[in-house]
Every structure is written in structure tokens, then in C-alpha cells.
Symmetry: C2
Subunit: 340 residues, 2 copies
Amino acid sequence: IQKEVLQNQSHKRFNILTGEWILVSPHRTKRPWQGQQEKTAADVRPSYDKDCYLCPGNTRANGEVNPEYTDTYSFTNDFAALQTDNAPFAINDGLLRAESEQGTCRVICFSPDHSKSLADMDTEAIVKVVSLWQEEYHSLGHKKDINYVQIFENKGAVMGCSNPHPHGQIWAQSSIPNEVGKKDERQKAYYTANGKSLLGEYVRQESSNKERIVYENDDMVVLVPFWAVWPFETMIVPKKQQAHIGQLSETERISFADALHFITATYDKVFDCSFPYSAGIHQAPTDGKDYDHWHWHMSFYPPLLRSATVKKFMVGYEMFAMPQRDITAETAAQRLRELA
Amino acid sequence: IQKEVLQNQSHKRFNILTGEWILVSPHRTKRPWQGQQEKTAADVRPSYDKDCYLCPGNTRANGEVNPEYTDTYSFTNDFAALQTDNAPFAINDGLLRAESEQGTCRVICFSPDHSKSLADMDTEAIVKVVSLWQEEYHSLGHKKDINYVQIFENKGAVMGCSNPHPHGQIWAQSSIPNEVGKKDERQKAYYTANGKSLLGEYVRQESSNKERIVYENDDMVVLVPFWAVWPFETMIVPKKQQAHIGQLSETERISFADALHFITATYDKVFDCSFPYSAGIHQAPTDGKDYDHWHWHMSFYPPLLRSATVKKFMVGYEMFAMPQRDITAETAAQRLRELA
Ligand SMILES: O=P(O)(O)O[C@H]1O[C@H](CO)[C@@H](O)[C@H](O)[C@H]1O
Ligand SMILES: O=P(O)(O)O[C@H]1O[C@H](CO)[C@@H](O)[C@H](O)[C@H]1O
């Protein structure tokens, strides 16, 4: 009965990691759509584009020349949103509060091949991306004033990506960002009360019924979280608790790359297009405090809902009230399993 | 010195209403944009469109016929995301938590004229919209199981609006939504500690220097909040504390309509286009509890940043870490004042 009710009635679900609720309206997909249609990426790209500032050998905006790199390549963003060596300040003027923020922004090229995306790179090539993320997490995390390292990728023009060359970004900064703070709090509370990792227990519970599990290998699970917001949102979670990706062994790194290959390739089959998303890794801060309660994970937030050109808009109600989704997590998981 | 530092260095600002931080990167507007360009609305619309399901006299998806209304008109959404008369349930299964949600969704037509938007309606016509919002807030708020009434508008295809006929929506539900809960908490804490309204004090502070104030009349202030997220975000706040719009007197209703007219018309001048946004009113819940600490306000979240076709994407970093903006609140306020 419970299962059926979740597929038919409007209800809310609780996100155990952030402590926030989301509204689910499973009956709503019958609604016709007369709104905005996105362009599909005219996607036969050349392997090399002389005007791309990420291709090997090309000159960037600031005059620097990219090396003739053969797998991955990272550098500091020429237009970084975060700056190092800012004069520290704190304003506390009545109800106005502001503080200086130190940080740096890095660009991570996944491949020298302009035409590729993670979805069409093999596991071996993706392992190199994972290794680079590990290195960056370590080296940035050890810098003075860097207390959190946010690894992410915006894929597709519809997700604000301004260059189709396969790449992600890292913004590393002195503050613990809002979203990370929420997850830190909930994980800590659970770990303190139960002596176990919140996400570890969650994965165990999901594994007993598999309704929302999309894929697994020896070390990783790919699932649609019970509280998913985006239509085909998924999460890669290591089965063994680890606070950050720096702890991945060589085999675990391969398992992670395999999971990344699986989910990105499967996404491309959903609407037979290069599937846009924002993806990000949430993991332990690097401020040297105790983060034994952290269980790192990588989330994918893809906007497409009905077709390659119709996305879910998180606007009015979602901005002012709470996130709302139209298909259930279970329907999404089933669809992804069938396509795999 | 403090003022200068805020216009030149990356920093974070604190939102006193939600308790969350936002990242400001004032130096970042120099970044060139090669990403997605939005279509501008081909905006000479007829006053009547026979295919529009909101125009007077037309037949809607469910077979109902709209009356020949002459000013405003409201009805229950034919594809409502919220349902009434759901069987109540609560699932508490290990780490899975879900609860039934009761509610209803209303469509609020602002004008019978298909070609209009709030920006080109006069104050007299907007007063009728405000009156309808008041009525809806009252009648919905008095319904069983309706504890919060979210009034909002999505304007423009880029904000997920699927019909250009001037209209807004109301989603009313049994739960207090996340965003409202955050603002409730902060306002209550301040009111309890200081015996005054948080927003009232904030408006008083802003009024002493006017850097972020865009417009005011006898009863209302329009300002860019210190912690604004969206490029030209603004907020309409009543000078006198009121918990909800039901408390507006007849003159205050006119002042509110005047402020609405001012800000929507000014927005259209920013990039010389019908300026898209999501707007929403945050006010006291309707669950009958004590909300003396509430100070209602209406916020506008417009996405355009650089031109009529280039918007700010809240993606990767913003989704996983915290909101980030490229121009400061002060720059935005100045621009809006100059255009007025
Ligand atoms: O009901 P509409 O206007 O068609 O739909 C729009 O507003 C809703 C409420 O903000 C959103 O959930 C939808 O994603 C959006 O497209
Ligand atoms: O740096 P990019 O990829 O050009 O920019 C993109 O990602 C950033 C980080 O998520 C966002 O702040 C921008 O709005 C988006 O367009």
C-alpha cells in the first residue's frame, strides 16, 4: 500500500543529508507543455577546435599557452570568482554582515579531445580524471586558508557551461559553503548518536530492496536517492565509508571511474542526446578538524524531464517554497536500469 | 574603505532572513561569455489569442469555459501539483521518511488582455490584482489543512512560464515550506530578543544611507537587499510591520500596487525587453499560530545579467556550495535608480 501511495499521491519526502523536504507530484506528468524548448547541442564536434581555449596548444585569454597535454590538464581559471591574497575583513554593521572570502578556481580538462564527454571516455581514461581530482583535493586542501574544495562539472549549454570541451571545475575557499554545512551537521548528528555513517546505513537499507539502485560494482553504488529533486538525479556512493576521495585505493579509483562511465553513458540514452547535468562531489572539509562522520558522495543533477528539449524549471514555487518534482525517484530508477 | 572593499574583493554576505551566506565576486563581470544565449520574446502579442487557455471566453483543457472577465480572474489549476482529499499517511521506514501533502494550486489572471504584463498595467489595474491576492490568502488560509499560501509569478519563458498571458499562481498546502520555515525562525528569534521586527529594523537601517534603496512611497520601500543573489534582485517591504497582505488598508493597497508598477516597469528598461523573473510573497503561515514576528515582503528574482539574452546560471558551484553573484547589490541598485 505504501509503495502505491507514493506513486499516486502528492507527498513530501525528507532529505536525510540536508534536513530539508521536497514535494513530489507523481500525477503531474500528464500536464501538457507549451513552454520553453531547449536547443539540442548540434553535436558533431571536431576533435580539435582552434578557437577553444581548452584545446591543447591553444592560447588562453590571459596569453598563456596550453601544453600539448595527452590525457588531463588543470590550471587556475583566468576569470576566477574567488581570489587569493585578499585583505581579510569582517563587516558587522547593524544588520549588515559581510566577510572577506579567500579562494581559488581551477579548470580541469578531462581529455585533449574536444569532441568527447565523460560519457564517451572509457574507464581507463576516467581513472586519470579521478586521480587528478584526488591530487587537486590534496594540494588545494593543504593550502593556507583553503577549508573546502568543491569539485563539480557543468555539462551542456543549458547548465550554463560556456565551452563544450570536456572539463569540470574546482572552486576552493576559506568558508564551509551552505550546502556542505547542512550535510556536515546531519552526518555528524547521526554518527554521534549511532557510531555509524549515515550514508553507509542508507546504502545498506537501499540494498535490501534495490528499488532505487541503478548500478553497483565491488566498491560503488549508483542510486536515485529517495529524496531526489531533479528528474533523473543520481548519486554515486562508496560502499565503504570514506570521508574524502583522497582515501580511494587504486582499485576503488577504478570502481569509481567505472561507476562514472556507467551513469554518464546511461544518461545519454535517456533522451538519445548528450545529457546535460551539474555534478559535484561532497566530501570532508580540509580545515584539519575531525570529519570521521563524513561519507563522500558524488551527485548528478540533470534538468531534462520530458525529452531532449524540455527541462524541469526550478522557479517560482521551488525558489520561494521548496523543491518539487513530477516523476518519482522509483520511476526514474527503473527507467535508468532499463536503459543500462 | 569598507564600501570600496565590497566593490572590489570576493567576499560573502549574510542573509538575515534565511541565515545563509552568498558569495559575491564583483571583479568577475570582466569574464567574456561564450555560453547559451536566450531567445528574446518576440513580443508583439495580440490582445486576444484564441489558443490561449487564459483568455476570456476560451475553453480550458478540462472543458471548462473561462468567463468574459474584465479585470482579474482566478481558478483552480487543471494540472495542480497539489491535491486535496488525499488519504493522510506518514512513512517512517528506517532512513526513508515521507508524508502526505494536502493542498491546492490556483491560477491568477492579472488582466483579460493577452498582450499585457504587470509592467504595462496601471496602478489602478494592479490594485485589483492585489485585492485578489488578499481574498485568495484569506479564503485559502481558512480552509482545513491549508497552513501556508504561496503567492508567486513566473514571468517569461526563461523562467519556465508556459503561457505569456499575464498571470501568477498560488500553491497552498498543509506544510510550512523550507524557505518559509527558515525565515520564520530568524524573524522569531529577532523579535523575541528585541521586541521589534527584523525587517522593520533592516528597512530603517537602509533608509539612513539609501545606497540600496531603489524607490519608496508613503507605505512601501523597494530595495536591493544587501544579501541579494540574483543580478537585479529586489524586495518590496511595507514600512509598517504587517504579518500578511490581508492587513493592507485601502491606501496601503494602492501603495503596494504603485511599488509593483514601479519595479516591473523599471525592470523592462534594464535591457529594453520584457524582463523575466520569478516573484513571490513571503508572509505569515495560516495555521492559526502566533506570527506577530512576521513582516511580509515580496521578492523578485530576475535571471538576466549582461543583456536581454544572457542570464546568470545558478548551476554547479551554486547548487553544491552556495549562491554566487557577479555584480554587487549596490551596483544593481544604482542602475535601477538611474533607469527609473
Ligand atoms: O505551472 P507552470 O507555470 O506551467 O510551471 C512552472 O511553474 C511551476 C511552479 O513554480 C514549476 O514547478 C514548473 O517547473 C514551471 O515550469
Ligand atoms: O565558469 P563557467 O563555467 O563559465 O560558469 C558557469 O559555472 C559557474 C559555477 O557553477 C556559474 O557561476 C556560472 O553562472 C556558470 O555560467
